[in-house]
């Protein structure tokens, strides 16, 4: 399991190189072929014994974060979100600019706020990052416009759960790396794509289809849970600890029925617990893979993840282990997609 290392690496959409180098270094000796494409996706290939069809597994390397958009005269930094982040989760947080410069996102002290400010979410344009610079000139020696910004969050695990940043989708990357580590050879050709720019519109995966031409694709995600007191129980999406979540549809894509049923049948045959992702909001690279080129029959399997798109997410290790196992069994059942 590589979740700890992956979680601690900073890799906002468009700035995935550190994540890519880490994954490449760990897997390159365990696959038959590996290459980086023009956009920065990392694709690994394992030849099948029969090679009846090509199966693609994809996880995205990028995480939501921010970009420095301007530098004020007082030395503070204006910034904008990269991917979907609400200002609600950014106040009072430590951040790192360009993977090196420490900063903080503060806010007007509660003593000085207007009454109607107490529960009103600010706009990003009202917020600044403080890096300890006296003025613009000093700030310009430390950072520049266009630098990426990440949350600073310790990774922790205790008992059955782990918490940290960027689990969407480093958990998917870690799952696929674990599958590669199993080092078995399967009947079908298997491709593992670690893609860029998912959080800014499913962009990296768009160029994978042309390079791989897969028959079937399965996207591995860290997906919304919502199983907490913030929502009524009947509005929860997935439940931590109840197994991998299988998607039937999400924004912009209804999952291919063959792929969907194949995933369920393997899980049932091997007694692997699973659940459905019961909310359809959000989208994944499965949607992009399905609508690229000639179209790909794609599915999604996710590790339920609480509080995604915030500085601190949470998963359950049982869900993680069962996701790895489900993928392993799908690969072993080479003919499941033939039906």
């Amino acid at each position: 399991m590589y979740l700890k290392e992956l979680s601690l690496i900073n890799g906002t959409s468009g700035d995935e190189s550190r994540v890519r180098s880490f994954i490449k270094q760990k897997i390159q000796d365990k696959v038959d072929e590996i290459w980086e494409d023009r956009l920065g996706n990392l694709i690994a290939f394992k030849k099948g014994t029969k090679a009846n069809r090509k199966i693609l597994f994809a996880a995205h390397m990028d995480e939501v974060g921010f970009m420095v958009t301007n530098i004020d005269e007082d030395g503070t930094l204006c910034f904008a979100p990269v991917g979907s982040v609400e200002t609600q989760v950014v106040l009072g947080k430590q951040v790192k600019i360009n993977d090196s410069i420490p900063g903080v996102i503060g806010f007007k002290p509660i003593h000085l706020q207007e009454k109607d400010q107490l529960l009103r979410p600010p706009k990003f344009e009202e917020l600044r990052i403080y890096i300890g610079a006296k003025n613009k000139d000093e700030a310009l020696k430390m950072v520049k416009i266009g630098d990426y910004v990440n949350f600073v969050t310790e990774y922790r695990e205790d008992g059955r759960r782990a918490s940290g940043k960027a689990f969407d989708d480093r958990v998917g990357c870690s799952v696929l790396m674990d599958v590669i580590d199993i080092q078995k050879r399967y009947e079908n050709d298997v491709y593992f794509a670690f893609v860029v720019q998912e959080e800014v519109g499913l962009r990296g995966s768009a160029v994978v289809v042309e390079q791989v031409k897969p028959d079937v694709a399965i996207v591995i995600e860290g997906t919304i849970a919502g199983d907490d007191p913030g929502l009524e129980k009947d509005r929860w999406s997935t439940h931590l600890g109840e197994g991998p979540a299988v998607t039937f549809m999400h924004s912009g894509y209804v999952v291919n029925q063959k792929v969907f049923q194949a995933i369920l049948s393997v899980a049932e045959k091997h007694g692997i617990p699973y659940q459905f992702r019961r909310r359809t909001q959000g989208s994944t690279d499965a949607g992009r893979l399905a609508r690229t080129g000639p179209g790909t029959a794609s599915g999604v399997i996710s590790v339920p993840t609480r509080y995604i798109h915030s500085p601190v997410c949470m998963i359950d290790f049982d869900d993680y282990a069962n996701t790895v196992r489900l993928i392993e069994k799908i690969l072993e059942e080479g003919e499941v997609f033939a039906k």
Binding site: V104, G226, D228, G230, M314
Partner: protein
């Protein structure tokens, strides 16, 4: 004492109002080395006495408590509801790690947030208040130990940002640090006054920490060291700046002669100061101390601090050092 290290050490200690023992246990041995004797009063305030000739009694106050939270309800699935201890902005609480002090040790928790995918307009347009905010402790294998009444704090480590120190509770551990530094330097200076270094409890909730000890000691003069808002525009008021030295307050809570004398001492010795007009109550221990017994002559010295009452408060160690220098100079006069 290295100022930066001292600030970070004190920031990382946890001590919301009424729960200051863990902080005092670290401060007291440091204080004992530079004072004649130390003791704690009935309401948890720590005092270090440094005898002079007994001509005058001067107390130097810094509150030792910080804002915090308390567990008000434990719900199924290892979720907690909170009440605040002092003014904790709900906006800076979301998606933070927090630490809960239970009888069986500390528990790690996360203040949960709804992912954008599941938010509706009602969520986007309004922060959850304390009726809706919850802590998820299911990531800690000892989560079942949490009980109602357990104290909860921001779980954040102090760090350095371009020479400044950033962390929680620098309101008022920065003040505490300046007292320790002043006590240290006072060892090399002669002073006629009996000087009391006072680390008072429960300031953040207007509690009894400072007034009780002012009563006990029958002080003639009191210098209260606290923090003030830096680098933020406040209407008609001057902007206090980080790194420009301590701010000396003027207003009804301050003795005008004491203020005048202190400004002169600062000028004579090249201590850069700023001026902070406070037209009414100061919102610090000064307010209570001034009206204790027959009255105490007060001075309020504030260390500039950014982002007060958040987990990312920022102070400049230079301001803390200059504050301590000024304190020592004033009492050594």
């Amino acid at each position: 004492m290295n100022t930066k290290e001292l600030l970070m050490q004190l920031s990382n200690l946890d001590g919301p109002s009424g729960f200051e023992t863990l902080v005092l246990d670290v401060i007291e041995p440091i204080l004992a080395k530079v004072c004649d004797r130390t003791w704690r009063n009935r309401v948890g305030t720590l005092v270090g006495e440094k005898k002079g000739s007994g001509k005058k009694k001067v107390g130097i106050f810094a509150h030792v408590d910080e804002i915090g939270l308390v567990v008000a309800r434990v719900e199924e699935g290892n979720f907690l509801r909170l009440e605040t201890v002092g003014g904790v902005d709900p906006k800076v609480l979301l998606a933070q790690r927090v630490k809960v002090y239970t009888k069986k040790g500390t528990i790690s928790g996360i203040v949960g947030t709804l992912p954008p995918h599941l938010q509706k307009e009602e969520h986007r347009s309004r922060f959850p208040d304390y009726d809706k905010i919850f802590v998820d402790v299911s990531c800690d294998s000892s989560a079942d130990a949490v009980r109602v009444g357990d104290v909860c704090v921001f779980d954040v480590k102090a760090m350095e940002i371009n020479g400044k120190v950033c962390g929680k509770a620098l309101d008022n551990r920065a003040g505490c640090a300046s007292l320790l530094l002043a006590a240290e330097s006072l060892q090399k200076l002669k002073h006629e006054s009996d000087v009391y270094f006072i680390f008072s409890s429960q300031e953040e909730i207007n509690g009894p920490g400072a007034s009780s000890i002012a009563y006990e000691l029958e002080l003639d003069e009191a210098i209260v060291v606290d923090v003030t808002h830096a680098n933020v525009k406040q209407g008609a008021f001057p902007t206090i700046k980080l790194g420009e030295g301590p701010a000396l307050a003027v207003g009804p809570a301050i003795d005008p002669e004491f203020y005048k004398r202190s400004v002169e001492i600062a000028q004579r010795n090249g201590v850069k100061t700023q001026i902070e007009p406070i037209p009414a109550r100061s919102g610090t221990d000064t307010d209570q101390v001034q009206i204790t017994r027959i009255g105490v002559r007060t001075l309020l010295v504030s260390i500039p601090l950014m982002y007060m009452h958040t987990p990312v408060e920022v102070v400049d160690p230079k301001d803390v050092e200059e504050t301590s220098r000024l304190l020592a100079l004033i009492v050594a006069e």
